[in-house]
């Protein structure tokens, strides 16, 4: 693994302007979908981006993929600044980053055969010459994802959800990208199929040395596939840590609340846990975010400082970052108010 991270994002901001009224077009304000997000992704690792609705995880993924305009901050792919590339300069970049989508039904063109769907990146980036080589490459990709070769002449509607997701994965692999952004790749699948796809993604990563940015709302799924996890809330990063640490020693109140809200399929384990009663209310709208720390209206440890000043991401231990006033070195909060971690 080289020293330069494969992907580095600094202070990313994605703001969508809302239309104002007819006479005052600039009065609409903006949706701050992503408001100052920084992280890095090393080659060969899987970073999870988790959060509930409105947290900005999908928008972050889209921004990295350069499919949404970036309002601020920088994105570097292997040291190269790609934040504001456009048009022709963006083309070679598109080969290096690919996306796997959430919706296995909408992500495939219903009028194209599987052969053409998977092979499209090969054609677009002129990666093979000749029909035979093209055919062979597509079949190789299909085999990688566990699809039988005689399925290549079929159309998407003839496949089940899990199989369509495999087609989507094969398509993402076709261009041999450096980074694959997985946007909730298993959320729309049945439970028994989810496991198949998660295992497939892991196997492919091991076999091909892939790097994943894994966007998901399901923390349990993320546990099984991610090396490091980043928790987002209302466009900000609230906590980032390696997987083991985050799940056994979550520090940010939101992370703790999130983890305790997720039930475990084990009645005995469940009876030992307690649902955190402090989590009230819902995620506020990103058009009108709260002042200071975005989580303060729902946080049982909120102090005055939290209402006024937004916290920044601090490293507490090696690689474990928390964005919370409770953990700031000069914080007035007593160390004893640090909440006990999940058993």
């Amino acid at each position: 693994m080289s020293d330069t991270p494969l992907l580095e994002v600094r202070n990313l901001k994605v703001h969508f302007k809302l239309p104002g009224t007819l006479l005052r077009p600039k009065s609409g304000g903006s949706v701050k979908a992503v408001d100052g997000v920084s992280f890095h992704l090393n080659r060969g690792e899987t970073l999870g981006l988790v959060g509930e609705s409105g947290c900005g995880k999908s928008t972050t993924g889209m921004a990295v993929l350069r499919m949404t305009p970036v309002s601020g901050g920088e994105i570097h792919l292997e040291g190269e600044d790609i934040t504001h590339l456009n048009g022709r300069a963006l083309r070679p970049l598109r080969r290096r980053m690919q996306m796997i989508y959430q919706d296995p039904f909408g992500a495939l063109d219903p009028r194209m055969r599987v052969l053409d769907i998977i092979g499209e990146p090969l054609k677009v980036h002129k990666l093979v010459t000749g029909r035979k080589a093209y055919h062979q490459e597509v079949l190789r990709l299909m085999d990688l994802v566990g699809l039988l070769p005689d399925m290549c002449e079929r159309y998407p509607h003839e496949f089940s959800g899990g199989q369509r997701q495999r087609i989507g994965i094969a398509r993402a692999l076709a261009a041999q990208p450096d980074v694959i952004i997985c946007d909730e790749p298993v959320s729309a699948l049945d439970v028994s199929i989810q496991a198949q796809i998660i295992n497939l993604l892991k196997d492919l990563q091991e076999e091909l040395g892939l790097t994943y940015l894994f966007v998901a709302h399901d923390l349990a799924v993320v546990r099984h596939i991610c090396d490091r996890v980043m928790v987002m809330y209302l466009g900000h990063v609230v906590e980032v840590a390696d997987s083991e640490t985050l799940y056994t020693n979550p520090q940010h109140p939101y992370t703790q609340a999130l983890l305790s809200a997720i039930p475990i399929p084990d009645p005995r384990a469940e009876s030992r846990r307690e649902v955190d009663p402090s989590i009230e209310g819902e995620v506020p709208s990103p058009v009108n975010p709260p002042s200071g720390c975005p989580f303060h209206p729902r946080c049982k440890h909120a102090t005055d400082v939290c209402k006024q000043v937004a916290p920044t991401l601090q490293d507490t231990e090696d690689g474990h970052g928390v964005s919370c006033h409770l953990y700031e070195p000069q914080s007035e909060a007593e160390p004893s108010t640090r909440v006990a971690s999940m058993a």
Binding site: E52, I193, A195, Q196, A220, P263, I264, E282
Partner: protein, 342 residues
């Protein structure tokens, strides 16, 4: 068979002389016809729900769990659907034999339902007040002058802040979790004895999901009502269910208490589901054990056990004969020829 529907006070008291089962379903069969294709959505389902109990019906898409729930109240569009067999005894009365009027008396009154998508289940052009009052008016449960007070009380029970102002708001002015609370309030308006919740939290954020499920648990306990909770999430089931029915391809394949199902799963599908579910407390990057194969095609089921094509324990008998749902141990039932030892 036809008991007079007693003049009941608010708070449906149970009819005297009945057994402890509030709901008893026998051999329910519902089909959908599309052209020449007949899809057996529910294929011989039997179960019971005791008073005050929460029964979870678990299954993936196509398992028939939602159709089962809708069939209880005969909420199936006909055509293309039809209930072709079975009995549904609610407190001794067979719902499938009732006339439309009798059924309407039960719906929203003694049995209420909560759906998955609160936005489409609430009428966007009516205020919350109008929608909450509707079941009360329809079933003549509350006097006109008491309706306002009762509506406010319901909103407080479902923990909607500032109910006085919220009463005249429209559904689009609420967030998803709030709308679901309104739905629950509507469902509880006539103090039903049975609440059917069809994936009530699937469309909601995780933290909101926890709040809603806790709310349901508290309210059912408070009112002593039973609940049928339909979900695909085994975690939710582990936390909230007393008893569990696992469904596959339109039938119940295993039934038991929560502990029995999770600690001693006896049907290969249940075992497969548990093994393939991602868990928060798994060891880091643990490998999941998926269920092989694809979900079944309900219009074209293979002979014998519907799970046999995907079952790692299948033997010849499984592919020839359909196993019945039978007791394995006490009230723990399974529909499988093979003994899956653990």
């Amino acid at each position: 068979m036809s008991e007079a529907i007693a003049n009941q006070p608010l708070g449906n008291a149970s009819a005297p002389g009945t057994t402890s089962s509030l709901l008893q379903v026998d051999s329910l069969r519902t089909v959908f016809r599309q052209g020449r294709r007949e899809v057996k959505a529910v294929d011989g389902v039997s179960f019971s729900v005791a008073r005050g109990e929460t029964l979870a019906i678990v299954g993936e898409s196509g398992s028939g769990k939602s159709v089962t729930a809708m069939s209880l109240l005969r909420l199936i569009p006909s055509p293309p659907g039809e209930i072709i067999d079975g009995d549904v005894f609610f407190d001794g009365r067979n719902l499938l034999d009732m006339t439309e009027d009798e059924l309407r008396d039960i719906r929203g009154n003694e049995i209420a339902m909560i759906f998955q998508e609160p936005m489409t289940s609430l009428n966007p052009v009516l205020t919350v007040r109008q929608q909450l009052a509707e079941p009360m008016r329809v079933h003549h449960k509350v006097k006109e002058e008491d309706i306002e007070a009762r509506c406010l009380d319901l909103l407080r029970q479902v923990r909607i802040p500032d109910p006085e102002t919220r009463l005249d708001a429209y559904p689009h002015q609420f967030s998803g979790g709030m709308r679901q609370r309104v739905m629950i309030a509507m469902a509880l308006a006539c103090e039903p004895r049975l609440l059917i919740a069809d994936e009530p939290t699937t469309a909601l954020d995780v933290t909101v999901q926890a709040q809603i499920l806790e709310l349901l648990k508290d309210l059912t306990r408070q009112h002593g009502s039973s609940m049928i909770l339909i979900t695909h999430d085994l975690g939710v089931v582990a936390r909230y269910a007393d008893r569990i029915n696992v469904m596959y391809a339109g039938r119940v394949v295993e039934s038991g208490t929560a502990l029995e199902i999770f600690e001693q799963p006896r049907h290969p599908y249940t075992l497969g589901l548990i093994n393939s579910m991602p868990r928060l407390d798994a060891s880091e990057k643990a490998r999941l054990i998926p269920i092989e194969g694809q979900p079944p095609d309900l219009g074209n089921l293979p002979p014998g056990c519907p799970f046999s094509p995907r079952c790692p324990f299948a033997v010849d008998q499984c592919r020839r004969e359909d196993p019945p749902l039978e007791p394995y141990q006490g009230q723990h039932l399974k529909a499988c020829w093979v003994n899956v030892d653990e």
